[in-house]
């Protein structure tokens, strides 16, 4: 056991001491927060200036019908189209909205300006014009304006989740994001750290140090030490990311709230663009506020706890297989043929997860995928934020533990033979033979 500890220590330190580890540890949260901040900043800044629209309406229908908003200001002009066009070139921040006398909404309405108008701006104007025309037509058909106004009800569904503590608001958007993010992280981590295990095994084989090591420890101890050591590296990295992201986002949030106008604008943007409070959370660029909001409805210690469990379980299950693949080949290019059966369930789960489980977390398919050990680390993480019955969670976790003990056992039988085999093109048949060797 002492020797396994020594191996874990070496595997861990030799990786954590690397520059690339440090860089990655700091780069990922910085990039994440940086990108989020940038999105928030740009969204706020994009609507910074009030856009002046000069409406040259020759049809007479839209006269005084446009409503001004936070960033749109309409004024109405008269005159000649050519003159108006010349004038608008002098005013850098203004747009000319030209509606000809015999207008056709799909053809000859024009927005003319020195610079290109944004797509949102055009959308706003189009929406307003559509509403104006619809209203006019409805009124012409004899419908009362008061009926018209009362018919524009807004619908906003509040999802409530029944739990032991009673009813609580289910933040669908945040739930989706948390489920997606944790499943995606597990998916990535299984590949990254699994491949590290495989590369470590190949390195020991190609440098031929393997024979020295296995004359001191049993192959199983070496494999176990390597898997656990690299797993510890993964955990360290995740913990650092969580701490750094939390720290940096608090800093970023502080910075944003300190700048009152900035915050006000952010809120304005969010209120204006989104009607549904939950969609608002999903679609908004401001992940910082969104996570802060979501924290009220999402049980983060529970999510992080299950995340760590499924990361470790999935990692142990898959890294043992990666180790077996590494032992069977002489260099990395030969790994291709054995990688497919390992990567396929992962990719498959991820795709199904993103398309089916997210939309239907309690379907039969979702249930089975979150129970079977090969798919459960990803599938279950998507389901967990939506709420999973305890018995399913216990079943899934138990099977995952049994699963990784099984794969480790299978892998170690291939590994002990593979590490001492050189210069052989190995087939699946051969692997089966190794598996059956005595001692």
């Amino acid at each position: 056991m002492n020797k396994v500890l020594l191996i874990i220590q070496r595997e861990y330190l030799s990786r954590v001491k690397k520059k690339s580890f440090l860089i990655l540890t700091f780069l990922v949260p910085s990039l994440f927060i940086g990108m989020m901040s940038l999105v928030v900043y740009l969204t706020a800044k994009g609507d910074d200036k009030v856009k002046e629209f000069k409406v040259l309406d020759q049809s007479g229908i839209f006269e005084n019908q446009f409503t001004n908003s936070n960033n749109l200001n309409f004024s109405y002009i008269k005159g000649n189209y050519e003159d108006a066009k010349k004038d608008i070139r002098k005013e850098k921040e203004s747009f000319l909205l030209y509606i000809p006398a015999n207008y056709d909404l799909t053809k000859n309405v024009e927005v003319i300006a020195e610079k290109k108008p944004g797509i949102n701006l055009i959308n706003d104007v189009e929406n307003q014009m559509e509403t104006i025309i619809r209203n006019k037509k409805l009124i012409a058909a004899g419908i009362d304006t008061s009926v018209l106004n009362s018919s524009r009800e807004k619908v906003s569904i509040n999802a409530k989740q029944l739990t032991d503590e009673g009813e609580k608001d289910a933040s669908i958007g945040a739930t989706f994001i948390v489920g997606f993010a944790s499943a995606f992280l597990i998916y990535l981590a299984l590949f990254i750290y699994g491949a590290q295990v495989m590369r470590g095994v190949i390195e020991e084989k190609t440098t031929r140090i393997i024979e020295v090591i296995v004359s001191s420890v049993k192959p199983f101890q070496l494999m176990l030490g390597k898997i656990l050591g690299i797993g510890a590296v993964g955990l360290t990295q995740f913990l650092m990311w969580i701490i750094l992201t939390a720290g940096l986002s608090t800093l970023a949030a502080n910075y944003l709230t300190k700048d009152d106008t900035g915050k006000a604008k952010t809120e304005q943007v969010m209120k204006k663009d989104m009607n549904h409070p939950d969609i608002q959370k999903v679609a908004s660029g401001n992940k910082v506020t969104q996570f802060l909001d979501a924290a009220d409805t999402i049980n983060f210690p529970y999510i992080i706890g299950t995340f760590l469990f499924y990361f470790l379980g999935g990692y142990l299950l898959y890294s043992a297989l990666f180790a077996a693949v590494g032992s069977a080949v002489d260099n990395e290019t030969e790994t291709q043929q054995f990688m497919l059966p390992i990567t396929l369930p992962l990719i498959f789960t991820f795709i199904i997860g993103m398309n089916v489980i997210v939309n239907n977390p309690d379907s039969t398919l979702s249930f089975w995928m979150s129970i079977i050990p090969f798919t459960s680390p990803i599938a279950m993480m998507i389901r967990i934020p939506f709420g999973v019955p305890v018995w399913q969670l216990v079943l899934s976790m138990t099977l995952l533990v049994i699963g990784f003990i099984f794969t480790t056992w299978v892998a170690s039988r291939i590994y002990r033979v593979g590490i001492l085999m050189y210069g052989k093109k190995v087939t699946y048949k051969e692997l089966a033979k190794w598996f059956n060797y005595k001692e």
Partner: protein
């Protein structure tokens, strides 16, 4: 100290070791000789408990081989290797600790050996920065750091330049004098012939010969001698010997001869002296290599 008894090891298609038995006495230098693919490495791996035999047993100091013996054996494999990116010092500490040394003990011993082998400033270096010969030196020190009772060296002198090979050879002899038992495994039989007390020859998974170097050589002496003469002599009537081969050089006539039964070298000299001048006469002692070839021929 080491007893290998009726070992059989089979791989998928062939039998690597077939009923091999041998015994290594404490404090001796033992040569495990045979061509490539004879089964030497398979046997060594079994002694190192890297693989297990399909049949047969190994005893270490009278006990059946078990995990506790791992730390008493030092093994230098034929295929050498170290972690390329790891510092030499750290690497040696790691390997020594895997053999059961404490960190403090390991540090002291590494320092001692670094000084002895003139590697003092290598601690912080990485393996990839060393020449191949230097790496071999590091590997050798790593093998013996935990002061093993049994040192197994697989092809120990390949990869060393003559100077360093001599250094290593002397270190091995010194360790042997301090009580360590040494097993050399090699296919270059002439390279260890003069070092070994005892040898075993392995060919095609079988042990074909086993014994002390002296007794084996004595058994394969066959009254063959080389003589150098100043001029030719009458070869038509030879009483005491027959000529196996001859070779003419500028200043001498050289013959390989075989004594006839019942005659000694003195009789040969008496026969030759009246006819020619004698430059030298020496016994032809077969090399292990020749004995091996002879033995394989006999078996076929």
């Amino acid at each position: 100290m080491l007893k290998v008894s009726h070992i059989v090891k089979e791989y998928a298609k062939h039998r690597a070791l077939d009923d091999v038995s041998l015994e290594v006495e404490k404090g001796t230098i033992f040569g495990l000789l045979g061509p490539n693919g004879a089964g030497k490495t398979s046997l060594i791996r079994i002694i190192n408990q890297i693989t297990g035999p399909d049949a047969g047993e190994v005893f270490f100091n009278g006990e059946k081989l078990n995990q506790s013996h791992i730390n008493k054996i030092g093994y230098l494999p034929e295929e050498r290797g170290l972690y390329k990116k790891m510092e030499i010092g750290e690497q040696m500490l790691y390997l020594a600790q895997l053999k059961g040394l404490s960190r403090a003990d390991a540090t002291n011993r590494i320092k001692y050996w670094f000084e002895k082998m003139e590697m003092q400033n290598w601690w912080k270096k990485k393996v990839e920065d060393l020449s191949k010969g230097m790496q071999q030196k590091v590997q050798f020190v790593a093998t013996i750091l935990h002061e093993p009772e049994l040192i197994i060296l697989d092809e120990p002198f390949t990869g060393f330049d003559p100077v360093n090979a001599e250094v290593i050879k002397n270190e091995i002899l010194e360790l042997n004098q301090k009580g360590a038992t040494i097993i050399f495994s090699t296919h270059r039989m002439e390279s260890v012939e003069e070092l070994c007390d005892h040898i075993a020859l392995i060919n095609k998974s079988h042990k074909i010969l086993d014994g002390s170097v002296k007794s084996i050589k004595n058994a394969y002496r066959n009254n063959t001698f080389r003589v150098g003469l100043t001029r030719e002599f009458d070869t038509s009537t030879l009483k005491t010997f027959e000529i196996i081969s001859s070779k003419k050089e500028e200043e001498s006539e050289n013959f390989t001869i075989k004594l006839k039964d019942g005659f000694s070298t003195n009789d040969v000299l008496q026969e030759l002296l009246p006819q020619t001048g004698i430059i030298y006469l020496e016994e032809v002692i077969p090399s292990i290599n020749e004995i091996f070839i002879e033995k394989v021929k006999q078996l076929n």
